[in-house]
Symmetry: D5
Subunit: 116 residues, 10 copies
Amino acid sequence: MAEEVKVELFDNPRFGRDYTITTRVPEFTSVCPKTGQPDFGEIIIEYIPDKSCIELKSLKLYMQGYRNKGIFYESLTNDILDDLSGVCKPRWMRVTSRFTPRGGITTEVVVEYKAE
Amino acid sequence: MAEEVKVELFDNPRFGRDYTITTRVPEFTSVCPKTGQPDFGEIIIEYIPDKSCIELKSLKLYMQGYRNKGIFYESLTNDILDDLSGVCKPRWMRVTSRFTPRGGITTEVVVEYKAE
Amino acid sequence: MAEEVKVELFDNPRFGRDYTITTRVPEFTSVCPKTGQPDFGEIIIEYIPDKSCIELKSLKLYMQGYRNKGIFYESLTNDILDDLSGVCKPRWMRVTSRFTPRGGITTEVVVEYKAE
Amino acid sequence: MAEEVKVELFDNPRFGRDYTITTRVPEFTSVCPKTGQPDFGEIIIEYIPDKSCIELKSLKLYMQGYRNKGIFYESLTNDILDDLSGVCKPRWMRVTSRFTPRGGITTEVVVEYKAE
Amino acid sequence: MAEEVKVELFDNPRFGRDYTITTRVPEFTSVCPKTGQPDFGEIIIEYIPDKSCIELKSLKLYMQGYRNKGIFYESLTNDILDDLSGVCKPRWMRVTSRFTPRGGITTEVVVEYKAE
Amino acid sequence: MAEEVKVELFDNPRFGRDYTITTRVPEFTSVCPKTGQPDFGEIIIEYIPDKSCIELKSLKLYMQGYRNKGIFYESLTNDILDDLSGVCKPRWMRVTSRFTPRGGITTEVVVEYKAE
Amino acid sequence: MAEEVKVELFDNPRFGRDYTITTRVPEFTSVCPKTGQPDFGEIIIEYIPDKSCIELKSLKLYMQGYRNKGIFYESLTNDILDDLSGVCKPRWMRVTSRFTPRGGITTEVVVEYKAE
Amino acid sequence: MAEEVKVELFDNPRFGRDYTITTRVPEFTSVCPKTGQPDFGEIIIEYIPDKSCIELKSLKLYMQGYRNKGIFYESLTNDILDDLSGVCKPRWMRVTSRFTPRGGITTEVVVEYKAE
Amino acid sequence: MAEEVKVELFDNPRFGRDYTITTRVPEFTSVCPKTGQPDFGEIIIEYIPDKSCIELKSLKLYMQGYRNKGIFYESLTNDILDDLSGVCKPRWMRVTSRFTPRGGITTEVVVEYKAE
Amino acid sequence: MAEEVKVELFDNPRFGRDYTITTRVPEFTSVCPKTGQPDFGEIIIEYIPDKSCIELKSLKLYMQGYRNKGIFYESLTNDILDDLSGVCKPRWMRVTSRFTPRGGITTEVVVEYKAE
């Protein structure tokens, strides 16, 4: 999926200092690949930037790319981590997804990346 | 109980990476074996998948299997852990049950499993 | 349904005075007649008693009678009002049902009875 | 019950003006006459005083008089209204009782008095 | 828009009695016709049925029809009222829409219909 | 008490239009005249101004005048209404006081004034 | 102030039907004319449109016009009502302002307009 | 106090596995030995069972034994730990008590036991 | 300040066992030494007693000693820790103060003591 | 930016003891350098003072210096840490900024400083 990613970056204004940026996207929606029904949830991205920070408007557009895509919770959380860490190359990143109930059941997936 | 379990699995989309899946089942009900009265509670399943993830629709049906079964809180929490970890063979799993008050008293049971 | 109703009554301790009794049953469950899946909700009964008040233990057992019954929200709310007002003959009664989300949608039904 | 009541009064400091006093007693307990088990709840007293206001320390002691008394919710709410309005003779009074769940069911009783 | 509406109905189980049905659709999304960006909100439908009630699964599908449609808040709230009241012919209906903030500003629109 | 009152006024910027101003003073403290112990509460003042509005800094100082004064809840609520309505001469005013629990009991007093 | 107002309008999509639009601006700030310190609050605008509705982006810019203006709560609430009702000519409008505490005191002002 | 304790046990259904049981008793009341006034609070019992678990109905009756007993917070929390750990012999136990305010002050006591 | 302290003690009922007592004083008020205006806040005292526990009524009176004293947040939090640990000689103590907003800014100070 | 900083200090009243001061500034506003639109958020400053503490009134004025400044979230959080730690030379300091949603997305930045 990385080839379609258009997440833009800007220079980390304090390159060299370890600090944390947390971005919440509470208006996330995708489509269940099994039923074709929309899923609704929140995506939370936490990271320690290295050389670059993620520009928020392009992040919003990237997230909108899932609006009509059929994908399971476990896959999309891992995909978002792979895409964002691949572009931004942070020192550390964690992606959390929380979905509203389906059949009375809610799901949360938490995935982490650590630069070697 | 394992022979009646029909929890289905699907392949872990990121086999090899440690990450956490949390599933909440807030609409759980069983029957008190002493009084015959229904109990109501929430079951929370957290796990780090290994080769397989738990399919949610079959999990819902598995949980509904307790609807008319007489069983104590301590037993059912341990049984759910045994059943789910037996089928899905995760790296780690925790099952939490929280029951609504009976006689003004609430109970929560937390059980963990760790692959050796 | 009235013939199976076993809601018991006790004498209104202040017959002649208009006052309100509100009873909440937050642990209500029935079955969707279309999908066979359990529904979960809360039933709220408000009434001004006339000669009789509703005994709570028998009300609980009456509510448990819906546990494995296939019935739509709109019907069961009206049925509960008919059953309870038929037995207890209050001056006024209101039954409210609030169900947890199905397909991301919640429903509440409010039905009233007034003695003529 | 009125003969044992020791609720004390003090002169309304603005006799002639209609205003409202609301007193909450969130630490109320009595005993279920059927099971002998304690009940826990909150009593709320709202009134428009006429010549007299209710002294709070004596009200607290009056409420403690129910601590080991076996009495149903409907009766005690009406009794409290009768006792307090009988002593304090307000222009208007409302007593509300809200009890914690028993068998998963909660009850609230609301009773009013109006001077003629 | 009425020609594309496929909201299904079922017979009111208590035709003749006035009662209220409230349905919440908290996972509503449409598109801003000016910016092309998605909007997120909640739609609340309250009505007193006459001969027919709205079937919930078809209502969900009807709401999903707005997922990729460019439309302003004020128009869509009025359109939903017109569509639903046109099909279901209730005695009374109210549609409320509440949208998440855009530019730090939130909007709520409330529209009512009353059968003549 | 009116002679010590130093509440200052400013001209109503829309004299002639009926509108409401609500001021909350959540950091109010006085002394119980019976026990000598401090009481803590919130005072809420709502009014429709006529020619004058109440200046907030002087109101704060007026409220601080109760800090070491021994006075009952019922009296001080009435006194504040008399003092403020006497100085500001509003079209309508309501004063509400809400006190934190003493002996497990909380009290709220609501007093109104209406210009003739 | 009306001459500087640039609030834009769009045609009411259901001219002739009475319905309500509520817009919240929780990020409002102005300056206290007495101390020169910034004030922070929320402005809520409710109205029944006649021929025109208020366009939200221009409303946001109008609200930003108060960012560095010295003005008291009572005046700005009345000014906003006059400006918005003057431009949009609604059937009814209400403006509410709620300000965060200053000296431990909060203030809310509510102003209404009704077309004759 | 241990001789009057009638807390009953049942066999741990997963003897050998370490897991946690948390029981909340929010309707606890005792008497202040200094003033004779009732105290109200919540008792929370967390433990890792060894051979035995605590039966809840007998626990409720044990807790009711404090209803008319004069005892300080610090003593009763330690006594409950001693009594329950003495009977049930858990691997680990923690007792927490939280009392409602007296004189505007609340108190919480936390006591732990660990099997050697 | 230690010479004026009259905090009373009572014997630790379980001398030798490490356990924690947490006392909250949400009705604390002192005076700003710079402006002369009252400050309002909450003081939280956590400690592991050694030989003695702090008697609550005398603690309340000790806290009231700050009612009309001009002192900064940082000083009073340290003073309370010094006074209480000096008298009660606990194994460990932490004092937290949380003050309500002044100029839109809130402050919390946390100070710890550990017996050597 | 350090040359314009006018944050004032006062002597740490317990120099030598490690303790924490937390100051919240919930009424922070700056300007987005890209769109020119105002941003709103909360700044939280936690520190362990060494020789000096930060005087709150000058901190408020320092924060107001961002009111009309165009700056990104990541830069301003780092700048505030640099400015405050440069002047006050604490043993440890953490600055957290939390901004209200823009385009449905919220951001939080956390930066730490540690004296060497």
